[in-house]
């Protein structure tokens, strides 16, 4: 286990391989005396043998540009543990007192209202499973393969069960006026983060969230309450939400004009590119992992998601895109939610290039990198949903390449 821990700490995971204890070592140490008591510790932690399985940052940018990424290669299923959920803050994490925090809804409403966290708990709650992906996820990979692991290439992506109140219920209480076509969502962080949200989205599936994976939101996810806009770029789901202003026009905030817009080759820029298009990535085997069990049977497993609906199909290639096979999808397959796929693969022991591509229920097909660049050029680092390639060497080492 020591060597496995060292591998994890280096961002590597050994796949396959087995060491069977000799008969003389029975019973093993763990079976010769009782283990730790309850409350060891009071808030449970992962096994200390998994100390490398953490969020991490790839550089030390200014706080304004700071993010940390989810270790997708070491996780299972479709729900990201709260302590491993990716982070992106624009002015750091505020320390908010839930007893004093208020959400104000005002502007084009009949009656401006303030809601405390206790007030939100008086509404019927809903819990929904959705992914959250930073608009800049995989932005480092558009021009050339940059990062060694799927945590680096795709880790600004996580999935959770979100619990809260439909925003439409709060707008009903305040009484939306016909002139209200847009909302300004504003956070209580030092940068008073703001984004404009069209009223159709607010009334469709937007949530005011206070719970994540069964517990109150963590501070870095917006405690005590945040906006959540299923399927849209992560920064739109404004954290530490303190104000919603209803108005006739969009607000053209800094984050939706000078940032999070998509510069095209002709010098024009796309504005309000909210939806995250269908995308997928193989998480096992993926960059930095090792097939150290030698040739034989492995599972190719990964995640697929679409900000426009359900995943309809995922196809996998093990020969760099020359041939494709349909991968079974793990139930449940939910709208705007991570979907796990898995396909048995017989590794010959030779070099291979593993790829996945997702198709959603609108018929959209995840593009190749060449298709994406042909349509948009290389200036924009946002919305890179191109097919990811992993190279498997005869040694079993897996690495990041552009195929």
């Amino acid at each position: 286990m020591t060597s496995r821990r060292r591998l994890l700490g280096a961002g590597l995971t050994a796949l396959g391989g087995l060491t069977v204890a000799r008969a003389a070592e029975f019973p093993p140490e763990s079976e010769r005396a009782p283990g730790l008591p309850v409350l060891s510790p009071a808030y449970g932690q992962p096994s200390p043998r998994l100390s490398g399985l953490t969020r991490r940052s790839w550089s030390a940018p200014p706080l304004e540009q700071a993010s940390s990424l989810t270790p997708l290669g070491g996780l299972h299923g479709t729900v990201t543990p709260n302590g491993l959920f990716y982070e992106r803050h624009h002015s750091g994490v505020p320390d908010l007192d839930p007893d004093r925090h208020r959400l104000v809804i005002h502007g084009a409403v009949r009656q401006p209202l303030a809601f405390s966290l206790d007030d939100l708990l008086r509404f019927p709650s809903v819990s929904r499973l959705h992914f959250l992906e930073c608009t800049g996820n995989s932005g480092s990979e558009l021009v050339k393969p940059t990062r060694d692991t799927v945590q680096g290439t795709h880790g600004l992506l996580s999935g959770a069960e979100w619990t809260g109140v439909p925003l439409s219920a709060l707008l009903d209480e305040a009484g939306l006026l016909p002139s209200g076509r847009w909302l300004l969502a504003e956070g209580a962080d030092a940068g008073r983060m703001t984004r404009s949200v069209p009223i159709d989205k607010a009334l469709d599936d937007a949530l005011i969230v206070y719970g994540q994976n069964g517990e109150p939101l963590r501070p870095e996810q917006g405690f005590p309450m945040r906006l959540f806009l299923p399927g849209w770029g992560g920064n739109l789901s404004v954290k530490w939400l303190r104000r919603l202003k209803v108005a006739a026009e969009p607000f053209y905030t800094r984050e939706e004009t000078s940032k999070y817009t998509d510069l095209m080759p002709d010098g024009s820029a796309r504005l309000f590119t909210w939806a995250m298009d269908a995308k997928s990535v193989i998480t096992r085997p993926s960059g930095g992992q090792v097939l150290n069990g030698g040739p034989g049977s492995y599972q190719i497993s990964g995640l697929a998601w679409s900000g426009r609906g359900r995943i309809a199909a995922v196809e996998i290639s093990t020969d760099g895109g020359r041939s494709w096979r349909r991968a079974p999808l793990q139930e449940p397959v939910l709208s705007k939610c991570l979907t796990r796929f898995s396909l048995k693969w017989e590794w010959s022991g030779g070099p291979a290039i593993l790829q996945s591509r997702a198709i959603d229920d609108t018929g959209y097909r995840q593009p190749t990198r060449d298709q994406l660049i042909a349509a948009r050029g290389t200036h924009g680092a946002y919305h890179n949903n191109a097919i990811q390639s992993w190279r498997v060497d005869p040694s079993g080492q897996v690495g990041n390449i552009h195929a």
Binding site: P62, L63, S91, V104, I105, H106, R110, Q111, P112, L113, A114, F115, S116, D119, R122, F123, E173, A174, G175, L184, E186, A190, G191, R192, T194, R242, R243, K245, A247, A248, E249, P250, F251, Y252, T253, R254, T257, S258, L263, G267, S268, A269, R270, L271, F272, T273, W274, A275, D277, R308, D360, T362, G363, Y364, P367, Q371, L372, A375, R376, H379
Partner: protein, 175 residues
């Protein structure tokens, strides 16, 4: 919808005398009570406060509050460049700045007031925000050296890349 009857009705009587419906959940507030929160400024919804500031005053504010991160010239510090790049957006090395990229001057005022300086946001007066906005427009050749801004003059400014943005054309067939 049933309404809570115990709340004093007078609390909700508006200027025109019509009592709005009493909410069942949440606490009624007036726009005056939340005026301190209502800080957004935008081209379509207004919000520019009273006050004024000149390029000359903004140069002093910038040197004191901004130059530490953005550099003395506005493009020579660790924080994002604030000037230059005009005409570069379609080139191999686009430089996206206030002058080359930002579509609205209101957004500049709004962002400086809500989020800058990064280490002590909210520390500038409205006059100082007008002044530093004027200075940033000056170093991007949008205002003259003797330029001055207030709500009316700021709202008149047309940024060089105002027409550079197009709504998202993607649908289920579009990349």
């Amino acid at each position: 919808m049933p309404r809570r009857a115990a709340l004093p009705l007078a609390l909700f009587v508006t200027a025109c005398g019509t009592p709005p419906p009493v909410p069942t959940i949440g606490h009624a507030v007036t726009e005056r009570e939340i005026a301190g929160w209502d800080i957004d400024v935008s081209p379509g919804n207004g919000g520019l406060p009273a006050g004024r500031g000149s390029v000359a005053e903004g140069r002093r504010v910038y040197a004191e509050a901004c130059a530490g991160c953005h550099g003395g010239a506005g493009d020579d510090g660790p924080a994002p460049k604030l000037r230059g790049g005009r005409g570069s957006l379609a080139s191999a090395k686009p430089l996206m700045t206030i002058g080359s990229y930002w579509p609205y001057a209101e957004t500049l005022f709004d962002y400086v007031r809500r989020a800058m300086p990064f280490d002590r946001p909210g520390s500038l007066s409205d006059d100082q925000v007008y002044a530093v906005t004027a200075y940033l427009l000056r170093i991007n050749d949008i205002l003259p050296e003797d330029g001055e801004l207030d709500a009316a003059r700021l709202a008149q400014i047309r940024m060089p890349n105002r027409a550079g943005f197009v709504p998202d054309p993607r649908d289920s067939t579009h990349l």
